[in-house]
Symmetry: C2
Subunit: 189 residues, 2 copies
């Protein structure tokens, strides 16, 4: 999506440790009008799939998911990062490995909010190693719901997450796919 690639080139900063900083429009300060345009594009891609629910993960996915959900006229469910080891029986749970923070944590969704009738679109800001996305897909499968696909804002296509998730048979649509990035800039596929 050219609009997004241009914005990343203009406002993104590549930091040490393979970090693309886009918190000036995507995940700290949110350019709401701009994110709406991304939501419109996710809708164009998935509008014929009968989506009944959008699933994302706190915190930075929530804004994108809510603004996207308006085009589909469906609710958003966000998986919570669990701080306790007391996962009660009324929750679906999955493990996420965070390579950035070098930790593992659980995400949970209350069972009431995903049902076998649901056709779920996953929305998230980044796809790199695919651990969060795989965990969200696992919650949906546990609920017996259908995974329509994933809408990702920025995919680091030089990492293996995209391949892993697509090899599971899950449709992944990333609005910007980064082939490489370094101090000289960001290059898209």
């Amino acid at each position: 999506m050219k609009l997004l690639e241009d914005r990343i080139l203009k406002d993104g900063r590549v930091l040490e440790g393979n970090v693309l900083k886009v918190d000036n429009f995507l995940n700290h300060c949110i350019d709401v009008a701009f994110i709406c345009e991304l939501g419109r594009e996710f809708h164009r891609l998935y509008k014929d799939c009968g989506v009944t629910k959008i699933l994302t993960i706190e915190a930075s996915g929530i804004g994108i998911a809510c603004l996207t959900a308006q085009f589909f006229d469906v609710p958003v469910v966000f998986a919570k990062k669990s701080k306790t080891t007391n996962i009660s029986g009324d929750m679906y749970t999955a493990k996420v490995e965070s390579y950035t923070h070098k930790t593992t944590y659980d995400i949970v969704v209350v069972k009431d909010y995903l049902s076998p009738d649901d056709k779920v679109l996953i929305i998230d800001d980044f796809l790199a190693r695919g651990s969060a996305l795989a965990a969200l897909a696992s919650l949906i499968r546990d609920a017996g719901a259908e995974i329509v696909g994933a809408g990702i804002v920025i995919e680091k296509a030089y990492q293996d997450g995209g391949k892993i998730i697509r090899d599971m048979g899950i449709r992944v649509e990333s609005l910007a796919r980064i082939e490489s990035m370094d101090e000289n800039g960001v290059h898209f596929i």
Copy 2:
């Protein structure tokens, strides 16, 4: 706001420990079309105040803030809950006391995203003791920006947060104000 009070009466559940559970439409599963109506009401209340930015706190404020921001055509900044004690010099920071979780944590906003020119509307889901709201107000003051006011979805008016914040001279508009609640139901002011 009658629409909201009716929804709380229909879908809210009062749990032990003074907890009002509204995660089936507000803060786990988000009824996006409904939250848009709350955003429209916040806009009606604050539309003549020259709002340039909406500030909220992760995670459950983000969806409400983003859907509200569309009516104002302004960006959303969300304060992050800091896990590290390494607060760098490029951030505003404030302490929040969580009575529910019996902990204290820091919230941070990167300095670039609040400036002395900003007129900031704070949006959050709950107001009870007012600790999160006071911390958000403190971040805005540290930036030299103007606090236009706060838009709260549900105020537990039997707790002292609302009085504390209003006594600071901050305008607080709560769409539902709870006078009391117990196993027999919720009563509004």
